[in-house]
Symmetry: C2
Subunit: 161 residues, 2 copies
């Protein structure tokens, strides 16, 4: 799966499609995709960048959907727990998943200049770390892979090869 995030795309339909597919996934699993949760997911989709919990909360507050931190954190916890949103540990921030209904292990490319974040895919189970883990008897359950650098838009053009 190619990363999104550094290329333009049909953003309106991107948002609508993502909301619709998560809506369906929740219905299928008996999860409640409540107004606050849906709105938080939309807020994250609108930017395709990682937002801090308090940035999300500010938006919710301005829309009358909640004013205290737990409101934002609960919605983000729900979305993260079910894989619709990912937390970027490096930034203490959250981003909507690029393909929220597929089972996957996300990896991220984070631009240190413009803060754009692209989600890509890894397979931690076949890298060098997996071999070391197997050798030492460590059982990997999940992995975080976050690469920091310069996105194509922020790189000086003479460096682009």
């Amino acid at each position: 799966m190619a990363p999104i995030g550094f290329a333009s795309h049909d953003h309106n339909s991107c948002i609508a499609d993502a909301v619709k597919s998560v809506d369906a996934a929740c219905a299928a699993s008996g999860l409640q995709f409540t107004p606050v949760r849906k709105r938080v997911f939309e807020i994250l989709l609108e930017e395709h960048r990682a937002l801090g919990a308090y940035e999300v909360l500010d938006r919710l507050r301005s829309e009358g959907l909640g004013s205290q931190p737990p409101v934002a954190y609960r919605a983000l916890d729900f979305l993260t727990k079910h894989g619709f949103v990912h937390k970027i540990e490096r930034l203490n921030a959250f981003i909507a998943c690029a393909h929220p209904t597929e089972k996957h292990t996300p990896a991220f490319l984070i631009c240190r200049k413009c803060s754009a974040v692209a989600e890509a895919e890894t397979d931690i189970a076949q890298g060098r770390l997996a071999g070391i883990a197997a050798d030492t008897g460590f059982a990997i359950e999940r992995a975080i892979l976050e690469a920091e650098g310069l996105c194509p838009n922020c790189r000086p053009s003479d460096e682009k090869a």
Copy 2:
């Protein structure tokens, strides 16, 4: 390089050796390995687990080496910046590097039960993510790889293969 952290070893000499080699590296690079910085490095070495900045600060305080957060954060920043210590983003905590004078890209195996952390090595430059980055024109400068799971000591023995 094999990970350390899940196996016993000669801890006294491990600490002494690490301090000595960092001391030499600092001297060679014109860096000041001051008492606070050295003590923070030792504190982290003593445990071979990730300590929060405020845990480090508590120890400094009890030894009369500093009582305010910036003291701990500055020492940790120095040590991290020069690669003698790594930050575990997942835990907001810091751990002494397992081989502080070699240039390397660290990866971590974090036990969710006992919080032990083992440092291993990756080569992000040859994984799947590197290919995607190259394709999209993203220039990776550094990468964080943190795997979470159960260490050999915390795994039920009947699961160990």
